[in-house]
């Protein structure tokens, strides 16, 4: 029989056709409902400018009639341009001034005391929670990129935006959002730890990249480049082997590769992508044993480190990650695709 009915309806597959008949009645067929009005940005700007002018006049009048006082928040008031925030559990410090909320402008740091958190709105693409004891600076915000700098502490971000629009720098690496939710921490020893709870994040430092998918965590040491992602549920022994390899202990690679299981394919892929040419055959052999590689991905190309082949293997291993919801990782099904998630 020729054709592939499941793919393009060529040929025949009675069981697929039967399921289509069974389930086709649930297909969506409703027309588009009336659309809400869009905000008229020009009008909003004009109105906003008027409000700002009036507010400024009032502020000047108040300032002119008041005596000496403590300085006002440095640009963190509601009229500033930037990311809106509110603190919980007490006041945060914006630009060095204690405040329960306002707007974080570009170039200004938001600091949370140990027992205070802050909710920060990331333009119109998402939000983040800044944990207690953290310092976050808005480096830039614009049509092409929203960029923050986490000096220390921890944040949890959830973003719905095109890839690479949301970026967070830490002292050790840069987290580039590819459509996801994640936790990012700058540890007390300066290492950066990233745990992805939805979608994909690219962690970059220098020329080295780590591709971190849902349910994986990666630790980066400043000056060394991103480490290798490890499944959140990986055994401590396996994680320790990964840490040794990341630390430059080449003797740990062989036992790591041998110990890798079905849930560790993304770890192996990152080692394949970032490793030396001499290391790739053994890594690929283990990957092949764990995951049925499509014929069109040639072993020679992968061992040679051809970027298209490496990226193609990543896409196959993570196929569905772009579709994966942002629910917490679930335990593996016994017959789950071994190449997807632990």
């Amino acid at each position: 029989m020729s054709g592939d009915y499941l793919w393009d309806r060529s040929g025949a597959d009675p069981e697929v056709a039967r399921l289509e008949g069974l389930l086709g009645g649930l297909a969506h067929d409703a027309p588009l409902a009336p659309l809400p009005p869009r905000r008229d940005r020009r009008r909003a700007l004009i109105v906003g400018a008027g409000v700002v002018v009036v507010a400024a006049a009032v502020a000047i009048a108040v300032w002119a009639t008041r005596g000496p006082r403590a300085p006002a928040p440095d640009g963190c008031g509601a009229g500033a341009a930037g990311f809106a925030f509110t603190s919980r559990g007490g006041p945060a410090r914006c630009g060095g001034v204690a405040t329960a909320g306002g707007v974080l402008p570009v170039g200004v740091a938001l600091e949370t005391p140990p027992d205070v958190t802050a909710e920060v709105t990331v333009a119109d693409i998402g939000a983040l929670t800044l944990a207690g004891g953290s310092e976050l600076t808005l480096a830039a915000t614009g049509a092409d990129q929203h960029r923050l700098r986490l000096a220390h502490g921890r944040l949890s971000a959830r973003v719905t935006a095109p890839p690479r629009l949301f970026v967070v720098d830490t002292p050790a690496a840069t987290a580039i959002d590819l459509g996801c939710a994640y936790d990012l921490a700058v540890l007390t020893d300066g290492r950066t730890q990233l745990t992805v709870t939805s979608g994909v994040v690219e962690l970059a430092a220098g020329a080295r990249l780590a591709h971190v998918t849902r349910g994986h965590t990666v630790t980066t040491v400043a000056g060394r480049g991103p480490g290798t992602p490890v499944a959140v549920g990986a055994s401590p022994a396996f994680a320790a082997l990964v840490a040794r390899v990341d630390g430059g202990d080449a003797s740990a690679l062989a036992p790591l590769v041998a110990a890798a299981g079905a849930g560790d394919t993304l770890t192996l892929w990152n080692l394949l992508a970032n490793g030396a040419a001499a290391e790739r055959p053994a890594i690929l052999a283990r990957l092949d044993a764990l995951f049925p590689r499509p014929e069109w991905l040639l072993a020679d190309d992968l061992v040679a480190g051809k970027p298209d082949a490496i990226a193609g293997l990543r896409d196959v291993l993570t196929s569905g990650v772009w579709l994966a919801p942002d629910a917490p990782p679930s335990p593996p099904s016994p017959d789950a695709n071994p190449g997807v998630w632990r």
């Binding site: 499941l6 793919w7 393009d8 309806r9 069981e15 697929v16 399921l19 289509e20 069974l22 389930l23 086709g24 009645g25 649930l26 297909a27 969506h28 409703a30 588009l32 409902a33 659309l35 809400p36 869009r38 905000r39 333009a123 119109d124 693409i125 049509a143 092409d144 719905t160 935006a161 095109p162 890839p163 629009l165 459509g179 979608g199 499509p294 069109w296 193609g312 896409d315 196959v316 196929s319 569905g320 990650v321 772009w322 579709l323 994966a324 919801p325 942002d326 629910a327 679930s330 099904s333 017959d335 789950a336 695709n337 997807v340 998630w341």
Partner: protein, 179 residues
Amino acid sequence: MAASVVDATIAELVVAAQAGNHAAFTTLYARFHRAVHAVALARVGAADAADVVQDVFARAWTRLGSVREPAAFAGWLMTMARHRAIDRARARGGGDAPAQEVAVAPAPTAEAAAALRAIRALPEAYRETLLMRLVEGLSGPEIAERTGLTPESVRVNLHRGMKLLRDRLAPPATKGGTP
């Protein structure tokens, strides 16, 4: 821009819709509403899924200006659909197997409901793709276009997902009997 919205590419439609062209946005709806519905149906019941579709497109209309790269529209829309469906599922109590499934019209047969449950129990990588194919009637190439996935990834998802589904729907006596 193509001569009409019917002939336009997705990127052209996105650019036109960003400029306020309703016809372009309606055409985007026509191309994507079934894929969005499948994404929702993977997480909520059919009645809620229909609401999620309208909610997603209403939000897309008001937020389309944030899409800087028109070619990324498909991924952006699917991500939004996922988030809205998850929010709806959480509002319903967080269940991943919608209880009201059998109450929707047209009411699925017991066999259809069983098939739907079996699809929902599949690994996440396959769930949405199979729903797009078997419920919404999209072909593999259409799914790739609607989701932004590569055709190779869609093909992998379809075939592996279908293999698992066949195994799970097979009568107990035949399970494990195929090579």
